[in-house]
Amino acid sequence: MTTTAPDRSRVWPWIAIVVAGLVTLVAGMLVPQDAVQGQLSRILYVHVPGAWLAYLAFGVTMAASAMYLWRSTLIWDRLAASSAEIGVYFTGLTLALGMIWGKPTWGVWWTWDARLTLTAIMFFVYLGYLALRRTTDDIDARAKRSAILGVLAVVQVPLVHFSVVWWRSLHQAPTLLKPESPDMDGEMVVALLVSLAMFTLMYVAMMVKRMELARLEEQVLRAEQSDAGPVAGAAVTAPSLGEES
């Protein structure tokens, strides 16, 4: 049973994404430039929210994984997987924007400060999670395996975090400008909060759509698997002469 006419519930997420994107763009352009960084500070209004979403999506994936192991209802698996895919996107975007901001600011594409390194590691944890999901079409096995990996990641990531932070504290990088400079003036704070809110709206809207996709793909998988299965009548075969069955 599918509706063919696009009703409001199916369209609002796309509208929300467009609106959020436009509002962010406007905020990033209207805000005054930073005294020190100049126009480059505008990049932060997409970079910082992206980083926030990367971590939010990661947290949701991990929490939903735990919930799936507890409840075994597939909606948690869909939630975890959807958040992971969106998280990969935003983590990749954050890293790319960080490099685009970093090159003119620091003169290098990459620095090995703790936060960047951790974000890069998190990107690969996500990728591993998504790669794992591709190894099986068995919906329940896929859900359980992914959930266990998700919870393992939750447990290991604090250790990864501590080890990286301690490691960098021993090898102090020269003082670098941090994206959130402590003395941002009022308008910049507002712009940042606006873009954070907009990106969060984007995340929610994308999640709605991505979960719809997850539900549909599950239906397709189930339909394909029931097609492939034998029907009851196949249990009895007609006797044939001479040939071994």
């Binding site: 994404i17 126009q39 970079h47 975007l93």
Partner: protein
């Protein structure tokens, strides 16, 4: 840092953001459509 080159980096950043956003959102939309088509074929 001169005015021109700064805006170049800003433009690059926003271009990367919005192009990738459209591509990612678009891929979700396309996959939804494909899944619906597959289900319609069967029903």
């Amino acid at each position: 840092m001169d005015f021109g080159s700064e805006w170049g980096w800003v433009a690059a950043a926003y271009a990367v953001t919005y192009v990738s956003l459209i591509a990612f959102a678009g891929s979700i939309a396309i996959r939804i459509k494909k899944a619906r088509l597959k289900l319609n074929e069967r029903s």
